[in-house]
Structure formats: structure tokens, C-alpha cells
């Protein structure tokens, strides 16, 4: 790529449209722009970067003041103001024009961003779109910083922070940042896949399914074993039932008699038990009824006496049967025999009299209740007596009927083997019961077996599903393997590229440094932090350090050029050499280094634009030689107000300009021809 011309319109120091043309001739690759400090050298560098990349204005102080001051001051509040940068360049024999303009509104005497336009045109004026994407192909943003070098602060070039940023920039030429990001992402993606795979938990589910299957199989086995036993029991019962039935059938006349006799014998046993119970109940009831009658009588006597006492106005306190019994305790005959004769009543009355006197209250409620309960008890006992007599009567009747039935059956059974029949009958009943029980158990076992078989089917189905999932799971497993291997490969490539970056830069520096520092031989090694170590130790005085910094710029430019030409995406560009633009790098160099560096620049194959101050010009340009300089420009400074005259010497000639330390300044390009 070759720069043809740059037009700056209302940008920074440049009022209206100002154009500088660059030397396109391979035999005269140098373009020199001379300017005083503040004259616009760095503005040119910033404009070149901006026209390609857009974004923030780089390299200049106060980038928020992009518009030319005079242009801005002459505008009204609310006016739309624009600066435009236009670059013509040649790429593989074809000319292109890129024009980037930024609009502002003047608002409260400030520039307010209002928009930006970008055009990329071919030599016929046809627009190439998308403009930025095509421009990025012409000059990738990661590379542009290795063609446009600010050199005003060479002393800090090797500061650790600057070197760290420089290293990142250089590594980005080799796409190391992409390799590193991809390696990190490959690992993250692999981990993500593995996490998802684990979360499907196929192994655990399969293990559970196998356990379920095992339990179901055990249950089935157990059920079948028990069923076989039960079937054996049923079979045996069936055999016994058949046997006893045969015996009973062959004595069919006696079969019913045996059955009846068995029933009657059970009835007899039951009747005897009932009789025994009824008799025991009657004994108890006799005792209970005696106590009940006694209680009722006693309550009646007490009630009468208390009523009499009440009438006499002497009643008080509360009294119940227990207290009455306590009152009677001295009379053993009365209590033990439940007898209530005249002497006992007299005794009771005397006791009641004294007791009532000692209380003072109304005992009638309690006495009435006791009276009623005594009467109820008597009624209840009487009813129970009646019931027990009925029960006894019924039981005796049952016993009588049973005895008759037994006798009748015995009559029928005369002449038969009663014991055999009885045994057969007992066995028949026993095995019939046993069969019923076995059949019930069999039904239960059959249900359990059915459930176990269902569980087995479920387990087998789960196992099959899990197996299929396992097959599915193989896919992510393979994907994980690819990603892991990719990460490993990338790690190796990153290591190799890191070495390559250092090696290539060292190689370039080793070629440049001896001539820059005017030594026969020097071995330059870069640390991992990019700091150069030169052997033999040259002491690295200020001038040497600055010369080494410029050597680094040229080395980086060469590497960036090589890298740019190796990229496939450079369709618009194709193989080419990018220009080297260096701003203000020479002012700080000693005179001897200026000459050495300038001579080295002559050997560079690319177009070179040097932005120099008057004081830098002397040795540099003379070392290069006017014959190699296609175009030389003076950035003529004008003061728009009342700045003082500024006269300086440029390569021995007096140049007069206006100079003031503060804006407004106006600069225009004036071509000079020495």
C-alpha cells in the first residue's frame, strides 16, 4: 500500500481544506513534513490512524477539540460543524479514496458529537461497501499501530507498562489473543458438556434399575417357592378331602349322624358352659341384691329421720351411704349381716341426730339421690336375676336337646366303626379348613408374584432406556475428547507462537542494532517482558536507548508487514508493503544516531513518512539525501490574531511564520523544494 495524499478539512490546526501529497516513487520513498512544535505533525499521524480505524483520536492532546478553532469560533450556537479526513492510497496498482467525516453540533460553546460518515471509493468513484470491513482488510486494526509511530516520548518506550501493552499488541499480530481465548473457551465448553453429561446421571439410574431388577427377581423366586409349597399343601388337602369323602360316602347313612353327633357334642359343651355361667351370675346377684335392698332401706330410714329433724328445724350438713355406714360401724351385726332392725334404727337415729347437729346445712339432695339409686339398683338386680334365670333355662334346654341328639346319632351309628368315621370326619373338616387357608395364601402369593413381575418389566424397560441413553451419551463424550485435544493443541501452538514472536523480533533487532548503535556486532535478547538486553553491555545511554526504541519500531513494522502479507483475508490488499510513518522521533536523538538511523531507513523497502521539527531536520534529511525525498512539506503556521512573528531556520534557510503558544493557529501545507 502506498499513501498518495491526505486532505485535512477543518481538522485541528487545518482551516478549510489542506492537502499533503506523499511520494509514491519507489526510488524516492521519503516524504518529509517539517513543522514547529504545535504545527500539526502529530495531527497528521492521528488523521492517518483515524481515517482507517475511526473511534477516538489517538496520539494528540485534547482529542475532544477536533474541530479547527477558527472554524468553530465563526459558527453560531446550534450550527452543524464537520471535519473531514480524506486519504488517497494505492493498492496493487489501483487507487482508492477513503473519506471519513465527523459531525458536531455547537452547543454551549462545546463540540457535541452528532454523527460520522465513511466512504470508500475506487478509482472510478464507485463506492465499495461495507466500507469499514473492506478498510479493515486493507489495514487490520491490530496492525495499524505498527505503521504509525508516535515518537515524541522515546525515553519511556521501554517502561514496563508500555512494554506490556506493546507485547500484547505484537502478540495480537500473531492472533495469540484469539488462540488464548479459544483454548480457554474449548476447556470451558468441554467442562460444560461434561457437566451436562453428568447431570443426565445415566450411570446412577442404570445402577438403580439393576437393583430394582434384582429385588424383583428375588421376590419372584421367593413367591414361586412359596406357591409351590402352598400348591403342595392344597394338593395334600385335596387328597385327604377325597380320602375322607370316600370314607364318608361309603357310610353315607352314618355320615350325617356323625356330623349331627359332632354338632350335638359341641352344643352340649356350649350348654354346659352357659349353665355354669348363669349359676355363677346368680350367686353374685344374690349378694348384690341383698346389699341393694339394704341400701334402699337404710336410705329410707335416714330420709324419714332427717325429714323429721327438718320439721323440727334441726337439719343441716350433708350425708351419704358411706357416712351412714361409718355411723353404724359400732353395730357389727347390722353392717355384717346387712340387717336393719329396731335396735339398729334407734342407734342410727341417735347418731344422725348428733351428726346433723354438728353440720348445719341441707342434706336432702344427696339423700334423695341415694334413695333413687338404691331403688334403681334393686330394679336392675331384679332384671338381671330375671335374665339369668332365662339364660339358665335356655342353657338347660340346649343341654337336653344336645343329649337327645347324641343319643339319636348313637342309635344310628350302632354297628358302624364310629371311631373311623369320626376320624374321617375330623380329617375332612381339618383338610377342608387347611385347603381354604392354603388357597387364601395362594391368592396373596399370586398377587405378590404379579407385582414383582410388573416391577421386573419396569426395571428391564429402564435398563433398556439407560442403555440407549448410554449410546446417546457417547456423542458428548466424543465431543469432549475433541475439545480437550483442541485445547492441548492450542496450548502447544500458543507456546510456539510466544517463542516465535520473541525470536522474530530478536532477529530483526539483531540486524538493526549494530548499525543503529555503530557497533560491529551486538546480540539482542528480549525477556519475556519484551525488555531488550544487549550483549555486549553498551551501557544503554539515553541516545542508545532511544535509537534502540526506533530500531524496535522498524522491527515491528517489518514483522507487521510480513504478517499482513500472510493473511488470507487481504483480498483488497494483496501482497504489499505498508508505509512507515514516524512522528517526531529524532529530536531526542544525538546527532550521530540521527544519521545512523536515517541511513538505515534508506534500506527499508516501504514508503517512509517522517514528521520532523526544524531542529531534527538537519542531520536526518541530509543523511537521507534530497534525491531520496520525493516530497517535502513545510507546515506553515499562521496566527489568526496578533501572535508574534516566528522565524526559524530550516536546513540553513530562514523561514518566517507566526507563532503563538495557544490557539487559534492555522497551518497550511507549503511544498518546499530544496
Amino acid at each position: 500500500m502506498k499513501l498518495i495524499s491526505l486532505t485535512l478539512e477543518n481538522f485541528r490546526q487545518f482551516l478549510g481544506s489542506n492537502q499533503v501529497r506523499f511520494s509514491p516513487e519507489p526510488t524516492k520513498p521519503f516524504t518529509i513534513c517539517y513543522a514547529v512544535n504545535g504545527g500539526g505533525k502529530t495531527t497528521i499521524l492521528s488523521a492517518l490512524d483515524f481515517v482507517f480505524s475511526g473511534g477516538d483520536l489517538k496520539y494528540i492532546d485534547n482529542p475532544g477539540k477536533a474541530l479547527n478553532t477558527s472554524y468553530f469560533d465563526s459558527a453560531q450556537e446550534g450550527d452543524t460543524l464537520t471535519f473531514t479526513i480524506t486519504l488517497q492510497f494505492e493498492q496493487r496498482g489501483q487507487e482508492f479514496t477513503v473519506r471519513r467525516a465527523r459531525q458536531f453540533k455547537k452547543f454551549e460553546n462545546e463540540e457535541r458529537f452528532a454523527g460520522e460518515t465513511l466512504e470508500l471509493l475506487d478509482s472510478g468513484g464507485n463506492s465499495i461497501t461495507p466500507a469499514q470491513k473492506n478498510l479493515n482488510n486493507v489495514l487490520p486494526p491490530s496492525l495499524s499501530k505498527f505503521f504509525f509511530f508516535p515518537g515524541e516520548n522515546l525515553d519511556s518506550f521501554f517502561d514496563p507498562d508500555r512494554l506490556r501493552l506493546l507485547k500484547e499488541d505484537v502478540e495480537s499480530i500473531y492472533d495469540l489473543h484469539i488462540y488464548r481465548r479459544l483454548a480457554k473457551l474449548a476447556r470451558a465448553t468441554s467442562a460444560d458438556l461434561a457437566r451436562r453429561l453428568r447431570s443426565t446421571n445415566v450411570g446412577e439410574e442404570l445402577r438403580n434399575a439393576f437393583e430394582m431388577k434384582e429385588r424383583a427377581n428375588l421376590a419372584i423366586e421367593n413367591c414361586r417357592e412359596l406357591l409351590a409349597q402352598v400348591d403342595g399343601e392344597i394338593e395334600k388337602a385335596d387328597r385327604e378331602i377325597a380320602r375322607t369323602e370316600r370314607i364318608l360316602e361309603s357310610n353315607s347313612h352314618a355320615r350325617d349322624a356323625v356330623a349331627r353327633k359332632k354338632d350335638a357334642e359341641r352344643e352340649l359343651a356350649d350348654a354346659n358352659a352357659r349353665i355354669q355361667g348363669a349359676e355363677r351370675a346368680q350367686v353374685t346377684l344374690r349378694v348384690t341384691s341383698g346389699y341393694g335392698l339394704f341400701t334402699a332401706r337404710l336410705a329410707d330410714v335416714v330420709a324419714r329421720r332427717l325429714a323429721a329433724l327438718k320439721e323440727a328445724g334441726q337439719v343441716g350438713g350433708s350425708i351419704g351411704p358411706r357416712q351412714i355406714m361409718e355411723l353404724l360401724q359400732n353395730n357389727s351385726t347390722c353392717v355384717c349381716g346387712r340387717h336393719l332392725g329396731e335396735p339398729e334404727i334407734a342407734h342410727l337415729n341417735a347418731k344422725l341426730d348428733s351428726h346433723v347437729h354438728s353440720f348445719g346445712g341441707a342434706p336432702f339432695v344427696d339423700l334423695d339421690r341415694e334413695l333413687r339409686e338404691g331403688a334403681l339398683n334393686v330394679g336392675l338386680v331384679a332384671r338381671q336375676f330375671g335374665e339369668s334365670f332365662s339364660e339358665l333355662e335356655s342353657a338347660l334346654s340346649q343341654r337336653e336337646e344336645a343329649v337327645i341328639a347324641i343319643e339319636e346319632a348313637a342309635t344310628v351309628l350302632v354297628g358302624t366303626s364310629e371311631s373311623e368315621l369320626s376320624s374321617a370326619f375330623d380329617d375332612f373338616v381339618k383338610f377342608t379348613d387347611a385347603k381354604r387357608d392354603a388357597v387364601e395364601r395362594r391368592n396373596g402369593l399370586a398377587s405378590r408374584l404379579e407385582e414383582a413381575e410388573i416391577r421386573l418389566v419396569e426395571a428391564n424397560s429402564t435398563i433398556e432406556t439407560c442403555r440407549q441413553n448410554n449410546v446417546t451419551a457417547r456423542v458428548p463424550t466424543v465431543q469432549i475428547a475433541y475439545l480437550d485435544l483442541l485445547a492441548e493443541e492450542l496450548d502447544r501452538e500458543i507456546q510456539n507462537l510466544e517463542k516465535l514472536v520473541i525470536n522474530e523480533l530478536e532477529e530483526e533487532l539483531n540486524e538493526l542494532i549494530p548499525s543503529f548503535l555503530s557497533v560491529a556486532q551486538a546480540d539482542v535478547r528480549l525477556g519475556s517482558d519484551f525488555a531488550p538486553v544487549i550483549t555486549p553491555d553498551l551501557g544503554m545511554a539515553q541516545g542508545q536507548r532511544q535509537a534502540t526504541a526506533i530500531a524496535m519500531m522498524i522491527a515491528l513494522n517489518r514483522i507487521a508487514n510480513r504478517r499482513a502479507n500472510s493473511l488470507e483475508e487481504f483480498n483488497l490488499a494483496g501482497p504489499t508493503e505498508f508505509p512507515l510513518v514516524i512522528d517526531s522521533a529524532f529530536g531526542q536523538l544525538g546527532f550521530e544516531y540521527r544519521e545512523l538511523v536515517a541511513k538505515q531507513l534508506l534500506k527499508e523497502p516501504s514508503q517512509v513518512v517522517l514528521l520532523v521539527t526544524d531542529s531534527q531536520s538537519e542531520h536526518v534529511v541530509e543523511a537521507i539525501g534530497d534525491e531520496h525525498c520525493g516530497n517535502q512539506w513545510l507546515l506553515q503556521v499562521h496566527d489568526e490574531s496578533d501572535g508574534r512573528d516566528y522565524e526559524f531556520k530550516l536546513r540553513g534557510r530562514a523561514v518566517v511564520g507566526k507563532f503563538r503558544n495557544s490557539a487559534p493557529l492555522r497551518t497550511e501545507f507549503v511544498e518546499v523544494n530544496w
Partner: protein, 60 residues
């Protein structure tokens, strides 16, 4: 019981899948270009996109 311990180990132990160098090269190129063109995207977004690309490229 036909419980096979190895059967549940497929995911945990993993079998040694065969890596096809051609597939690997294609995958790498694809992922590299995608990351290069989406450097501003977040890691989370890129991880998901890479996952989709890997699934697209690598089938068992």
C-alpha cells in the same frame, strides 16, 4: 443378575473415542474463525455458540 459394572462407567471413565484428524482440523478452523469474528462477545455466549458448533461438526 446381569448387572455389568462397566455399563455404568461409560460416562465416568469414558472410552477412548477415535479422533479424526481431518474433522479436528475442520473443527479447529471453524471455532477459531468464530472466536476471531466475535471477540467482543462474552465467554458465556461464546461457550454456548462453540457448543452448538461442536455439536454440528462432531457426531458419533
Amino acid at each position: 443378575m446381569d448387572f455389568d459394572e462397566d455399563e455404568t462407567e461409560i460416562q465416568e471413565q469414558g472410552q477412548e473415542p477415535e479422533i479424526d484428524p481431518n474433522k479436528m482440523a475442520i473443527l479447529k478452523n471453524r471455532l477459531f474463525r468464530h472466536v476471531a469474528q466475535n471477540l467482543d462477545a462474552s465467554d458465556a455466549k461464546l461457550t454456548q455458540e462453540l457448543l452448538d458448533l461442536v455439536r454440528g461438526e462432531i457426531q458419533d
